[in-house]
């Protein structure tokens, strides 16, 4: 490999990028747009679930019960009603996701120390939110009923009953359980994967299409020189995207970075080599810009979104698909970024993932060098 030739290729490739607004947009603007869009839109938190209440009891006890819901940050009381149609309408219109129906004898039964059944209706069309909302409702109810028991015991002069089991939750790593803190590092990984491969997927194919490659392969230029030279500008763009992402994470979304910035950088650079080389490999094999960009999109976008654990937890997937995720590079990078961001873990814990990235990047780079032939087929 000759330095002079690599520099010549890299310089020319830089000029292409800077003179082509489309590649600048794809390299910088689109990743930032994705970051903001998903950063704002993608949240798995369920709060202020809209609530509708049909209080048939209309007693102090029932009003107190409802106020427990209304006062919690998880629910927001939107409406009162006095019939089923009201509930149906509210849920159909998505004015409410959950409905409480308090029976007429609610207060009487409680006073008598008997069980009162409160009906909860929940819109199951978004099953994830529904499950979480039900969990919240359960917790609010349990809390209220425990309080009543304690009160009644006190009235009767009895010692308050002691709950035998008491769960004391303490959340580590993402103590406020803000899902954005969890999503954001994965988002960086996914965006870098897609953009990197897309950017480079055009470069070699474009030269075959315009005919400039025919001239290049008749010179003493070597394949590795061409590929390394072509990687350099896109590598630079990738680093720029990473820095911008970290800044957006810090200043716009206030995502705390607990681990080492250097480790994060090191891992990202290794990952970038792999993702960029994958794009080049696709470009070399297809020799056709349209096919290359479509293939790059399919090869990176789908696995990165669906199989990396970025949104959908891998543990919940069927076993076969879990198996497949092991060959999805983005999965390892998502794990690494999350580990560094949220848990401040080091190479000791991430060794497996890091090793995979190194092997993957080296393999794809090697493959693209092998596949590039200075011949017209």
């Amino acid at each position: 490999m000759k330095f002079q030739r690599i520099v010549a290729i890299a310089r020319k490739e830089f000029i292409h990028v800077f003179r082509d607004p489309r590649s600048l947009a794809m390299g910088i603007a689109i990743p930032m747009l994705m970051l903001f869009l998903f950063g704002y839109a993608l949240t798995l938190d369920v709060d202020r679930v809209p609530l509708i209440v049909w209080d048939q009891s209309e007693s102090p006890a029932s009003r107190e019960f409802v106020s427990r819901f209304a006062g919690s940050r998880y629910f927001s009381l939107r409406q009162h009603t006095d019939n089923y149609q009201g509930i149906e309408r509210a849920i159909d219109n998505r004015d409410a996701l959950i409905a409480l129906i308090i029976p007429v004898d609610f207060a009487r039964r409680i006073e008598a120390g008997r069980r009162a059944d409160v009906q909860v209706i929940v819109d199951g069309s978004d099953s994830n939110t529904a499950t979480i909302a039900l969990g919240y409702a359960d917790a609010v109810t349990l809390d209220y009923s425990r309080e009543i028991i304690v009160q009644q015991a006190r009235h009767q002069g009895l010692p308050p009953p002691v709950a035998l089991l008491d769960l004391r939750p303490r959340v580590w790593f993402n103590a406020d359980m803000v899902s954005r803190n969890y999503i954001f590092p994965g988002l960086i990984a996914v965006i870098m994967m897609i953009i990197a491969a897309l950017l480079t997927s055009l470069t070699v194919a474009r030269e075959w299409e315009t005919g400039t490659m025919e001239q290049l392969i008749a010179t003493p230029l070597k394949g590795p020189e061409l590929i390394v030279g072509k990687l350099i500008p896109y590598f630079t763009i990738g680093i720029l995207d990473l820095i911008l992402s970290l800044l957006v994470g810090d200043f716009v979304f206030a995502i705390p970075l607990r681990g080492s910035l250097w480790l994060l950088f090191g891992m990202s650079l290794i990952f970038l080599v792999g993702a960029l080389s994958l794009g080049i490999l696709i470009s070399i094999v297809t020799k056709n810009q349209r096919m290359a960009s479509q293939l790059a999109l399919v090869a990176t976008m789908l696995p990165a979104f669906l199989l990396s654990g970025f949104i959908f937890p891998i543990d919940n997937m069927p076993l076969v698909i879990q198996g497949i995720t092991h060959i999805v590079t983005a999965r390892y990078f998502v794990t690494i970024l999350r580990g560094i961001y949220l848990k401040n873990v080091g190479l000791g814990v991430l060794a497996g993932e890091a090793a995979f990235l190194v092997v993957f990047s080296a393999l794809v780079l090697w493959l693209s060098i092998r596949k590039f032939r200075k011949k017209i087929e």
Partner: protein
Amino acid sequence: MELATDTHNGFAVTLRNLEKRFGDFVAVNRVNLDVRKGEIFGFLGPNGAGKSTTIRMLCGILEPTAGSGTVAGFDITRQAEEIKKHIGYMSQRFSLYEDLTVAENIDFYSGIYRIPAARKNARKEWVIEMAGLTEHRNSRTAILSGGWKQRLALGCAILHEPPIIFLDEPTSGVDPISRRNFWDLIYQLAGEGVTVFVTTHYMDEAEYCDRLGLIYRGELIALGTPGELKSRFMAEEVIEVLCDQPQEALEPIEQLAEVKHAALFGRGLHVVAERADDAIPAITARLKELNLPVNRIEQILPSLEDVFVSQIESHDRKEAPQREVAS
């Protein structure tokens, strides 16, 4: 590099039974050829004849199906990368980067050819001057006219001063003045001892070459200097017929027994016959019958085009029966 060339008895290019097939289709059919050092060798042929395919094999960018060859003393199949160090190649399609400026394209190729820093600037200025691009050195290549682009492409291909250059239809689609200028450059290079292997389908350009090869349907059907081709390959005689309606005269003339074939040529016809003395009276008589006035009819020295048309015709005549047997 001198060593390698010299060891091959002064031949810059030698081809032995070179063949290229694309599937069943034979694009280049067992071509044998020697090109001497310092020669301007013209490779002539109609569209699809196999010129580009041959030149690509010589440049080491296309694998031959069979046969062998050397360029600058290096084997075209086994030492393709060595060849690439010793040649300049200008492909048929314009192949510089249109979004780069003139100077940037030159800088790029000087990097690729690793021109030493000390010589880099001098070479760059030489190319810019040679291509007449002094005022456009910082213009995007895309805005240049065809003639400028082609001279710039030539300049980039010879930055490293290769002893052999391959030019694939370098002047196609360029105005006549630019073509002249381009050929002046080729002469200048040949004067410095560079071997020039150039394809073309312009007959006037063919006359500028030291030697010519005519390729047709993948086969080399004639080879020699322009003078040799006109005398040796042209056993028949050529008659020029100038008349007002040459299209209408063509058919009847071709049907005459004394005539081998005829073709439209400028504002008249060129008629090939075994003996002009027999054919001229026959043609005159026939055209008179048809009421087609003749302005002039006389035997002329054959042009290269006559030679090629006649060679192609006789090649087709030889091939036709074989093809019928085959099918």
